[in-house]
Subunit: 335 residues, 4 copies
């Protein structure tokens, strides 16, 4: 049994991760923490996440000096479900203590000059760790994940997008000089657990946001190795992402080639389901899966990709990475 500490347990992804660790046969949930100043510190976990009562009854401790010391002691791995800058600062403190870190934030995902300044509004001051981080897209980077101590778990939109696009890119099926268009809709939990007028019950409906400037667009491009148009929307549901993706195929590409590309990529990956129906939020919410389906006509391929943003888009993907890193069965604790 490995001892796991989760920092940032007050959020939705942190809560899901706590439940997953609780249920995992090889992991022991050792402690839950939030930032020292958080108003959620010292509350019972179930006061924040009532569904967890009786399952995860640990207190949510503040990550002050004593908390930090405690979090490092006897801990086999750390999960950070914290804000980007907080992760950037915390990760090295655990890494230098020899504790592997699985970071659910965006702090270590993109190794590109100026990226954090432009898209996150801060200068990355841990460039060495950034350069060592492995992007935690489990189905594509398994070998590197096995050998790293710092996994930057892939973002929610990027996971849905990249799982759909990378097989096509790998097989060379995307038409040169064309740009795939990703139209994605996320549930409200993607905005995190917080009081904000924009995510209040009465204000949410369905609308585009982040037009031409969402930070997940360069994350997708960077890990795809090619340009994309990415347009996110907020939808009126709690959890899930549906991406509808439009791809111009190279001349002469056949349906068989497309099918083969997806088969080759995922025939051994039970988490990615090549479904016979179009994906839906209902089909993936509460599950660790990514559902893919596609159809083509006149050289245009439309791909539907759906995930639960809190699971495959965050915590269950983190668990996949933990399984890989520590040599467990790839889907242990997930199915």
């Amino acid at each position: 049994m490995l001892n796991v500490v989760i920092i940032g347990a007050s959020g939705y992804a942190g809560a899901e991760l706590a439940l997953l660790v609780h249920k995992h046969p090889e992991l022991n949930l050792k402690g839950l923490y939030v930032s020292a100043g958080s108003q959620d510190a010292n509350k019972p976990f179930s006061a924040l996440h009532p569904q967890c009562l009786g399952l995860v009854d640990l207190p949510v401790k503040p990550l002050d000096d004593a908390g930090m010391q405690e979090a490092k002691t006897g801990t086999d791995l750390i999960c950070l479900a914290t804000a980007h800058e907080v992760s950037m600062n915390l990760a090295p403190q655990f890494l230098t203590a020899g504790i592997p870190v699985f970071d659910l934030s965006g702090a270590f995902r993109v190794q590109q000059d100026g990226f954090y300044d432009k898209y996150y509004g801060f200068t990355h001051d841990q460039p060495e760790w950034l350069s060592k981080a492995v992007y935690g897209l489990a189905e594509w980077n398994a070998e590197q994940i096995k050998q790293t101590d710092l996994v930057a778990v892939a973002g929610c939109y990027p996971t849905a997008s990249l799982l759909a696009l990378k097989p096509l890119m790998a097989a060379g099926l995307i038409k040169a000089d064309t740009t795939p268009i990703i139209n994605a809709v996320s549930g409200v939990s993607g905005a995190g657990r917080k009081a904000a007028i924009g995510t209040s019950f009465c204000e949410v409906s369905l609308n585009p946001y982040g037009v031409f400037n969402h930070r997940h667009q360069p994350e997708i491009s960077y890990h795809l190795g090619g340009k994309v148009v990415f347009q996110p929307h907020l939808g009126n549901f709690v959890r899930g992402i549906l991406a509808t993706i439009y791809v111009q195929l190279a001349d002469g590409v056949t349906e068989e080639q497309v099918n083969a590309a997806y088969q080759q990529a995922y025939s051994n990956s039970p988490i990615v389901r090549l479904s016979k129906q179009w994906p839906s939020i209902r089909g993936v919410a509460g599950t660790p899966f990514c559902d893919l389906h596609w159809q083509m006509q006149d050289g245009l391929l439309i791909v539907g990709s759906a995930i639960d943003n809190l699971l495959k888009g965050a915590s269950s993907q983190a668990l996949q990475c933990i399984n890989l890193r520590f040599g467990f069965e790839p889907t242990l604790g997930l199915m």
Copy 2:
């Protein structure tokens, strides 16, 4: 045409009221204001309420000294959709200037010693105006509303509850020494337009709150003239209230007597619909109506009462009161 000013236009009830005034053939919407310090001051109205674009395009002005002066000048009536204490302080300033006030807050609804200290957390410092205020339950207090300059528009839960219970009380059909039980569910807009974790999209589902201490319980009791048990719930919808009410009938009361009580109360009140089906949120949301239906067995009467909390529970009832006060047709601008 009467000039109307709305203060507290940033909230949901204020927005509905602005639309109603805009559509009313005898009213002119002269100005919209919010408290001087509000972050919504100086925004276009439609930036807060996008559905109003092209209908109500007034700016939302701050109620600073200049705003106050402007709000009083050439104004025939004032609507306050402000916080309780704000209303308590503002109303007299307009009343002493001779401008009738229609207050949607709870500041002038209950003329009972200690009520505001106990249930609202402040001492009422306008006892004279409080004693002059008329409770704006349009179907029951029409004559007094016609003759007052200060209407305390009835609360949302009290409106749904009192419209169901007052006919029974008036006809003496409630069993002595029994207490009606009101189980009510409100949409989230009842909590107002604000950022709060409890009303964020991801947290709302269906749950009781305010057990044994909601301020609408004494408001209902006071205006009914009898004890009630009142248990509110928050539901996962934006607007509407459904109250399911359990009443022990006096011995021997017949169905005909119950029907007659409701007919007598509302046969000339088109806003209260004595429906042949059980009411639903769907049937009243977006309408000015209160839907009532009932059934009895073994001396127990169950009454269903549904309203739109923002309309009959706030703004359209305010408009009913305005119609009464200024001698317009009772439902002008509502049907």
Copy 3:
């Protein structure tokens, strides 16, 4: 006052239309009908649409021989909110009796050989009337609507799509040999009022459907005069459509040109709101408006277009057409 008959009043669009006619100062709602065999025949209207109780209390009559006779007598205009084939068969019966018809179905929208066989599954047997029909997209075909007796009110998705695309097409701003992509999400009421597992509460979430074969794709292309990719989705809300549209602009097109194109098209059309924010379902549901907003980068224009599918996508657009045809103010009864 013109006498209006609505056939197909059991559906959601028919109900909205009945309310609009009821409120319109120059129209009198004379009768409501459904197909003779419908199980909704002879029910009170409010048994189907509880929100209408007290507003529209007409019975829903069966369109049998007597009903047909009655529907034709003393009627100034007919609205058909019926199934496509039903409309195809009914419209001529009223037209030959000299009664103008406003058809909300797809029966008379596209004058293209083989269209109905391919996309609607029946052969159009009224080719002459089809050739005379005017497409009821009010902002674009006002002059022809004024002079026709058969208006084929535009479809819901086509309305949202065409209002966004036609200004660009008219101004020649779309890059040659590129195809705009329309990613659209509709509320469930778009599927009509019926019992079906696919639209049951427990099954609806968010998913693509009709991939490469939705009948609104050719309707859009035909009335735009250019190819489009159109991908509809079912969303978990009752009413509204949001279309997010991706357009490659011709080389050198500036933001000013795009803005000018929209201004020129809609500066005198209050129903189309050129908003400063991105449209949302919340902003248009329950309103007759189409909200448009756009942004461009590197030659790609993204346009958001939102309507209420039952209003601007059906009944309020029908009313716009009625206003035009009978010489009323263009937005009479709508604002």
Copy 4:
């Protein structure tokens, strides 16, 4: 490993049960069946329940003669998630073959003369088996469940109601000659998986139904051993039940007595959570728990009780009964 067959796998409770059996370490899901004439026969399970793809990939077979033979062969226990009459007819066929039956329908729940005629509309023709059935309310009937071959798993509303009321009844805390009032709201999945206008997405909101005649009222009374008023409502959510229960306490009953009654009943029952907050649908949806919380004033006790209707109200309670009957840990496969 015990071989489990589920009949009625096309419904929502059947699907949840299939997932639970799939995850249970001591159970093997051997087969899934539906009635021979069902349109869902021969479909892949995930075509009906997309979330199950990759987890439960069995075909859904018709229960024709061959299916019946197959279902009996090598099967250790049968779960019936079928319609009431179907269960009544099927259960004896498996019981006489020596196979224990866990029936999720209402067919064997109430052993009272005339009950089925009055409330289910059919005459029970298996009175002997009915008399042998044990009511599957796991926390209260564990000893009998261990020794029976026919478990009538408790209904959804009765589970939420009885878990709240039985401790009070057992401790003699309910005032004589008073009747507890149960105001309950259920998610739409309680109506089953079917096409019906009443459960279509556009029609569902929140409304009372089954006033004074719901079949769960006598089921609750029978197993409580006392009268109740039970008023169900349909709510606009997929899964979950919230019951708000009003109980007149016997004179002099103290809060300590009430607390003690609940502690005594459930201190060893981890599935019933005595929460410190009021229960919510959000806190129990997707979990096997029943959440209870209460407060009293002036002799009135208000109890909130929430469950997931498909889990504790159906399939996870069935699994609790299976665990009890076959000697597994009481919560094996549930936590």
